[in-house]
Each structure stands twice: as C-alpha cells, then as structure tokens.
C-alpha cells in the first residue's frame, strides 16, 4: 500500500513538474502574473511529493517488504537497520529517486528562500529546474521503477553488496548528490538568463549562493568517497581516476571555475557569456557523469547494473538538456552586452587564468575518460587510459594554477602591480622554502617532486592569509586598526582565504601519502613483530569474529615506538554468507599527521597470516584539507551580502584598504 502511494506520488510529481515547466515560462513571456506565480508553490509541492515517494521507498527497505522490487534486489532481513536505509540509494533505482529528490529540494529552496529574486527570473529558473525533474521522473517511471511489485515476493532479498555495508556508504551518496545535482540550479539560472537575454552583476550575485552550496557539498562528497575507498579497499589508495570518480571530479573542476568567473561578472560585469557557458557545462558534466555510470558504456568498479533501454533514455535526456541549452546559448549569447575592460595582469586576468587552467584540466579528464570509447568506435585498437595518463597530464596542468592562487587575491582590479603583490607574499615564499628544506631533510631518499609539492602546499597555506594581512594592514598599522579592519572584512574574504588554505592542507596530504608512504607486507604468526617506519608492530592474536550476516577473523595488533604503546589495531577480514565475497576492515590509527594502517589478508593455512602495514605520512590532511575547503565555502555562504537583492549602493568606508575593493 505504501509502495503504491510512493509510486503515485512520483506520478503526481511528474504532472506537477510538467505544469511547473510550462506555465511560468509562458507567463513570464506574456507578463501574466498569475501564471508566473504558479512556479513557487509548484516547486514546493514537487518537493513534498518526491519526498513522500522517497520515504515510501525507505519504508519498504526498513520493513523488509520484499514484494517491492528495489528492496527485493538490494536488501536483506538480516542487515542492520542503518544499512537497510543506506541500501535505498546503493542501487540504480533508489539512487535515481535520491537524484530527483535533490533536484526538487533545490527547486523548493529557491522558491522559498529566493525572495530577493525578481519574480520573472525566479519563475524561469524554477521552470527550467522542473524540466530537468520532468525528464528524470519520466526516466524513473518508465525504466527504473523501484516500486514495481514482485509476485510472488521472495522469502528474502538478495542483500546489499558487502563492500557497501559501511558507514561511509550511508553518507557518501546523499552528500555527493547534493553537490552533483545541486549544480542544476546554476544551470537553470544560466538558461533563465539566456531566455531573458540579460546577464549582469545581480544575476551573478543571485546565482552564487546556490552554486557555492553545491560546490561545498560536492567537495565534501568527493572527499568522503575518497576517504571511504581509503579505509575500505585495504591498500590505502584514495584516488584511482576511475571513470566514475572522474565523473564527479569534472563537475567539481568546472564548478570551481564557475565560482571564480562569477566573481568577475559580479564585480566587473565581464566574462558574461563565458560564465553562462560554464554554468551550462558544469551541470552538463554532471549529466554526462550520470550517463556514464548507468549506461554501461564504460567499465568501472562503481558502475550500477545497466540496460540498453536505460542508456538510450538517459542519452535522450542528455541530448535534449545539453543540446537544447547549447543551442539556446549559440543563439542568445552573442547578444549579451559585453563587459568591462582589464589589463592581463589584474584580478580579472588572474581569474581568467584560473578558469583557463581549470577548464583545460576538466577537458583533459574528459578526453582521457572518453578516449578509449572514441578510439574503439572509429576502428582503432582497444586501449586503456589509466591513472598514469591522468597523473602525467593533470599534475603539470594544475601546478601553475596552484602557484598563482595566493597571488590572485592580492592583485587589483583592472590593472595591478604584480611586483607589489609578490612582495606581500614574502612570508609565503619563506614558508615554501622552509617546507622544502624540511621535506628534503626528512625524506632525502624520496622523489624530488615531492619536495616541490610540499613547498607548494606551504606556499598555498601561508599565502592564503596574505590577502587578509594586506587588507587589515597587518604589520603596517597599529594592532587596533588591524583588528578593526578585520572585523569589517566581509565573510566571503575569510571564506576564500580558508578555502585556499584548505587546498594547501589537502595538497600536503596528497603529496605526503603518495610520495613517502612506507609499506610492509609480511606473513606473521601470532607473537611476531615487524618494523615499520620507526614503529614496531606485533601480531598478538587472530580470532574469529562474526556478525549478523558475515563470518570473520579479527587480528589484534599492537603498535609501539621505543617500547611505548602507540596504538592497538584490530583489522578484520569478513566473508559474507550471501555473496561469498570477502571484504577487509582495515584498522587505522591516526596521529593527526600520519596514519598507521593495517589490513589483514589471507591465512597461509599454517597459522601464518598475510598482514599489510602502511605508514601514510600526512594522510589525514587530505580529508582535513577538504573539510577546511568546504568550511571556507560555508563561511562565504553565510555572508549577509549574499542575501541582499541587487548589490546595494553603499558608501565605501573611509578605510577601504587595497586597490582591490573586494
């Protein structure tokens, strides 16, 4: 019964989406206020309906109702409750419902909190959002219905893939989707702007909070996925350039570029048609990613089960959404009023460089991901493009940008003095030099690139605060004045500094873990000890440890340094009855600046166990850095000025600091 309600709610949502997509657009074109006013309540109602459907699906999983198709395939009565809930989105059908839920959530949010938007723009934005929802609701109802009934209902479900039964899984997809799908709002704003024929500073200001919210959550979502891989897969890797990972990374790169180019539109009324294109491209990359994951066109460890019918449907959605928007762009964008002028060395120039590099990086990842498909289809050999390609191309491309990051905010608008900006970065330069020396000293046998990498990370971290120092006249005026200025600095300035600093932290983590990881693989018997990077690790015991749906072995290990106890690690190996699959539960002890990582392998049948031990320097900083980046974004999001409608004409305070305005 509840499943039928859920199904019906989806159908109703489809109808509402149709109305929301058409009536307000027509109303906006004909200045028909009542039709325009349909948009807001429709968006809110759509959210309520999709939420109801989602909850109905959760209900089916939680109550182990195996007459519901999605539950029968993906759930099992012996699973712990948390995984029954997480199982809702651990499969194709359920995750699509989550997809449209987030689409509807953003629509309802703009409807409810977007009071500062002009009604016609808001109506158009919500209409475009509804078009996307309509497409995906249709996709669900026609090809991927989770509520289909299974007769006769099986006695039990097929269970969730054991590797997915993990707290990380429970949270990674919803957070990721908030970002991934959240960029739909920037897309909708872009289309609405093209329809209106106007892109200006206010548009950039209105689109910013939604783009920023999506960016923050996508940053966290990608970091969570990476962290989950790190502690789940048993070998300490955290990024594999897998097609599905790339599918989430490309929108992140484009979204970061979008955030920065929107600043230029807002402050200088320039780069308008490029920013609109970028907004379209960012979400298009999300859509392409959705296609890649669910169509079976590329192999991936992440991919959902697929069928040709689904692939064709999504491809059709892609062609309509992306093709349609790019046609609109080709027609309307040339008519957008061109904006201000600036010299190459200026804040605008730096932001253009930012966009140039990020866009090139996103394009490189896209080419690398799609090239095997392209080559095979034109009759060439079947090749594979793996991590080595991406590491060799992405890293050199992104490095100049990382060097430029602390410099950009110190440059003035229109025309800037590069030498003065560099002078302000003396502390960052010194920090980079010191960090390089430290790296060289501690890891003299390691790769030389890692030394540069750590220096770059220090440059980024210290350099992030250089703008704050400059704007508050730190060191050049009395402390009182510095503090006073600091209080008046807008939150988005702090947010940007924090985000850039977070980037430095994450870079340090990536360099440290990749370059200086120490590994020991050994067969150990209980009682034996092994040396690892200055620690001593002993295997005390291996005993059975079973759970509600698995049998396992647990190893008790002790880590000491110079005789003092550092940690107790208990890695496990689990075999799941249902699927026969093995998973490893790794044991990680973090010291804050490194991870000691242990994974239990197979028994050799004679009392010995394969044990894999790693010391991963700076590994925790990877995810710490991502969290700091997202925190910077959230800080920016809380900036009051983002809620003001048109940029308010306010008198510039006497104390406006550098030539940059803000």
């Amino acid at each position: 019964m509840i499943a039928e309600i859920g199904h019906f709610a989806l159908v109703l949502a489809l109808v509402v989406a149709l109305a929301q997509a058409s009536l307000p657009l027509y109303g906006a074109a004909r200045a028909n206020a009542p039709l325009v006013a349909v948009a807001r309540p429709a968006a809110q109602m759509q959210f309520v309906l999709v939420l109801a459907a989602f909850l109905a699906l959760v209900h089916a999983f939680v109550t182990s109702d195996f007459s519901v198709y999605a539950a029968a395939i993906n759930s099992h009565s012996t699973m712990p409750l948390v995984y029954k809930i997480a199982g809702v989105w651990g499969n194709h059908e359920g995750s699509m419902v989550l997809w449209v839920l987030i689409l509807a959530l953003f629509g309802a949010a703009v409807a409810t909190f977007g009071a500062n938007l002009p009604p016609t723009l808001q109506a158009r934005v919500l209409a475009v959002q509804a078009m996307i929802s309509f497409g995906f609701l249709a996709f669900i109802l026609f090809t991927s219905d989770p509520f289909a009934r299974v007769f006769p209902p099986p006695p039990d479900g097929q269970g969730l893939n054991p590797i997915l039964q993990d707290p990380g899984l429970a949270s990674h997809p919803p957070v990721l989707y908030l970002g991934y799908v959240g960029f739909s709002m920037a897309f909708s704003f872009a289309i609405a702007a093209l329809i209106e024929g106007r892109v200006d500073a206010s548009w950039a200001r209105w689109v910013r909070p939604w783009t920023l919210a999506a960016w923050c959550t996508l940053t966290l979502g990608i970091a969570m996925g990476s962290w989950w891989a790190y502690y789940t897969l048993g070998w300490g890797g955290f990024w594999f350039w897998d097609p599905v990972e790339n599918a989430s990374f490309m929108p992140w790169l484009a979204g970061t570029a979008l955030l920065h180019s929107a600043i230029v539109v807002e402050k200088r009324d320039a780069l308008k048609s490029w920013t609109v294109l970028l907004a379209i491209v960012t979400f298009s990359l999300s859509l392409i990613g959705t296609f890649l994951v669910r169509s079976g066109v590329l192999t991936s460890v992440h991919a959902f089960a697929n069928s040709p019918a689904r692939g064709i449907f999504i491809l059709a959605l892609l062609v309509i959404a992306i093709g349609g928007s790019l046609i609109l762009y080709a027609v309307r964008a040339p008519n957008l009023a061109p904006g201000g002028l600036f010299a190459p060395i200026s804040r605008e120039g730096a932001l253009m460089l930012n966009n140039l590099i990020l866009a090139s990086a996103a394009a490189t990842v896209l080419v690398g991901t799609l090239y095997p498909l392209f080559l095979e289809r034109i009759g060439g050999p079947k090749i594979s493009v793996g991590a080595p390609f991406f590491n060799l191309t992405f890293v050199p491309l992104i490095s100049p940008l990382l060097v430029a990051v602390p410099i950009g905010p110190l440059l003035g608008w229109k025309r800037a003095d590069l030498a003065a900006a560099l002078q302000r970065l003396w502390a960052a330069g010194a920090a980079a030099f010191l960090a390089g020396l430290v790296a060289l000293y501690l890891h003299s046998g390691g790769p030389i690139l890692a030394v540069f990498g750590l220096a770059l990370a220090a440059w980024l971290f210290v350099g992030a605060f250089a703008e704050l120092a400059a704007r508050t006249n730190l060191g050049r005026a009395a402390l009182g004045e510095t503090l006073r200025r600091a209080r008046h600095l807008p939150r988005s300035t702090y947010g940007a500094a924090l985000a850039h600093a977070g980037l430095g932290i994450a870079l340090a983590g990536i360099v440290g873990t990749t370059a200086w990881r120490v590994e020991r693989i050994a067969t150990m018997h209980p009682g034996e000890k092994v040396a690892l990077a200055g620690y001593e690790v002993s295997l005390d015991d291996v005993a059975p440890a079973n759970g509600s749906n698995y049998e396992g072995q647990r190893a008790d290990m002790t880590v000491t340094r110079d005789g003092r106890l550092v940690a107790r690690l208990t890695p496990q190996k689990r075999t799941f009855a249902l699927s026969g699959a093995d998973t490893a539960v790794t044991a990680i002890h973090t010291t804050g600046i490194a991870d000691i990582y242990a994974a239990l392998g197979d028994s050799d049948g004679q009392g010995g166990w394969t044990v894999r031990l790693y010391d991963n320097p700076l590994a925790p900083w990877i995810w710490l850095g991502a969290v700091v980046m997202a925190a910077g974004g959230i800080l920016s999001l809380s900036d009051r000025r983002l809620r003001v409608g048109a940029p308010a004409r306010r008198r510039l305070p006497e104390s406006a600091a550098t030539a940059s305005g803000d």
């Binding site: 890797g237 394009a363 080419v367 491309l397 093995d582």
Partner: protein, 157 residues
C-alpha cells in the same frame, strides 16, 4: 625527452610502496628486482576487475600475472621486455598508461591543445575589448575617488 623524464619520475613516484594485493609469498628476495616488479605491476591493468592494476587486484589472474612478471625478471628480461611479453598476449589494453603512438597522439596532446585554444581565446577576448573600448581604460573606483578628492580640494582653494 621531457615526457620520458616525467614518465620516469611518475613511475618512481608510484613505485614507492603502492602494491596492495601482493602477497609475501610472491615477493622476490632481491629488493631491486622486487621494486622493478612492483613498478611494472603498477602499470598493468587487471583484466578481470578492470580499473585496477595487477598489484592492486585480488583476482587469480592478477596473481598469475604478478608471478609471471617476477619469473620473467628473474630470467633476465629487461622491464620493456617483460611488458612486451604481456602485451603480446593480451594486447595494448593491458597497459594502464596508453602508449604514445599515432592512434593516441590526440590523447596525449589534448591537454596542450585545449590549453592553447583557451589561451588564444582569452587573449583574443582581452584584445578585442581593448579595441572596442579604445585605448584608454576608464578610471577605477579608486582613481575616481582620488580625482573627486583632488577636484574637491581644488575647489576649496
């Protein structure tokens, strides 16, 4: 040349302890040979799990190939010969780093091409704006205020 250097650096970078399904029984006694085996293994795709190197994969075939790599190394093959041995049997798909050959020139050149196109576009944009608006860019806000102050102080005299 630069690419070779970068490639070597990348391989060295990755060779430092990233082998994750390798078992102690497989590992060679000679650390130099074992390091070579790891480096080669990092570059070979596991055809069963796909998207994992043979060093990372638990599959039987990955194990067999890891053993094979070490056997060939012990028999005296060079790194290139070992890789060639496997490519002869499984085709180029087994290489995680796509070979640089006419079919893949476009792939390897794409970052540079895209960047250049973007650079040309950016430069063209800036130049065109300069042409459209004439040579003198309008005053910045700072300059306007400064001018206003000057005019005001002028007027006060």
């Amino acid at each position: 040349m630069m690419r070779t250097i970068l490639a070597m650096i990348a391989v060295l970078w990755m060779a430092l302890g990233l082998a994750h399904a390798v078992t102690p029984q497989e590992m060679l006694a000679d650390p130099a040979l074992e390091a070579r085996a790891r480096a080669i293994g990092q570059g070979l795709r596991c055809l069963v799990c796909q998207n994992q190197s043979i060093d990372d994969s638990n599959a039987d075939l990955a194990h067999d190939l890891r053993v094979l790599v070490r056997q060939r190394l012990m028999a005296g093959d060079s790194d290139a010969q070992v890789v060639q041995y496997i490519v002869e049997r499984y085709g180029q798909f087994v290489l995680l780093k796509p070979p640089v050959e006419p079919a893949t020139y476009l792939l390897w050149l794409s970052p540079g091409i895209v960047f250049l196109i973007g650079l040309v576009g950016a430069v063209a944009y800036v130049r065109k704006r300069q042409r459209d608006l004439g040579e003198v860019p309008p005053l910045t806000i700072e300059e306007q205020r400064h001018l206003a102050k000057l005019l005001k102080s002028d007027g006060e005299r």
